[in-house]
Amino acid sequence: MNTALLFDFSVNREDKTIQIKREFNAGLELVWQAWTTAELLDQWWAPKPYRSKTKSLDFKEGGMWLYAMISPENEALWCKADYEKIEQQKIVSWLDAFCDENGTENTLKPRSHWTNSFTEENGVTTVSVVLRHDSVEDIETMIAMGFKEGFTMCMQNLDELLLGR
């Protein structure tokens, strides 16, 4: 990871949100495209070894992005995002869900609400993601995201300790 780029996590239990901030070394127009077009989303959205494949993406308020997360064994997990608010190159918000291949949602997991904001400064684009959940339980599993480097260091210490035993 390029450590020169900001990567920030914070968690707020009171309003049940996780806030993620990340800088990208590219202009606003391009980063916006990467978050809002099927062709580009499919190239990065699914964390390896998964890949994502978009079935349809109707980029407008009230529209839907329907895609599958495909496992290395070629099993498809269908997901969707129901777009709520779109302000070109500024904000896009949606509600996510697991669903079937027709976009009919199921209750495998509670839905998260995403608000993604985009700003550019000197050719570096910052994306702020706010993930809102319905319950504190959902958040608790993610609270751990509130720290990174400090804790990673700590874990390295722990690894050394465990090796020494």
Partner: protein, 106 residues
């Protein structure tokens, strides 16, 4: 009072304390020397960590030594790893996509 483990480690001082005692058991005084915080503040952090069963106390003579509950930490680490990796992987992939496109456009 049973505290929330993730809240316990949401505080930077407490994370630093965990980092310290991951290597060796320490007395509260020895721990406090590493921080600008008052001895009282450090004691409070230790109490919270103890209540979450993240650290354990051992009495040796008149001193109390604090050390890490390894199993509990591993549990958190598993959570952490999962989420951190997902996001880091995603964003690193996006970095790749962006830099590829930028090269093509030049």
């Amino acid at each position: 009072m049973r505290r929330d483990i993730f809240q316990a480690i949401a505080d930077p001082t407490r994370r630093a304390i965990i980092g310290l005692i991951a290597l060796q058991a320490m007395t509260p005084n020895a721990i406090a020397e590493h921080f600008d915080a008052t001895r009282q503040a450090v004691s409070k952090h230790l109490r919270i960590l103890t209540e979450c069963e993240l650290v354990k106390q051992q009495h040796q003579g008149r001193e109390i030594y604090y050390s890490l509950e390894i199993e509990k930490m591993k549990e958190i680490d598993r959570w952490l790893d999962q989420y951190r990796k997902i996001w880091e992987t995603r964003f690193n992939q996006l970095d790749q996509v962006l830099s590829t496109i930028k090269k093509q456009r030049k």
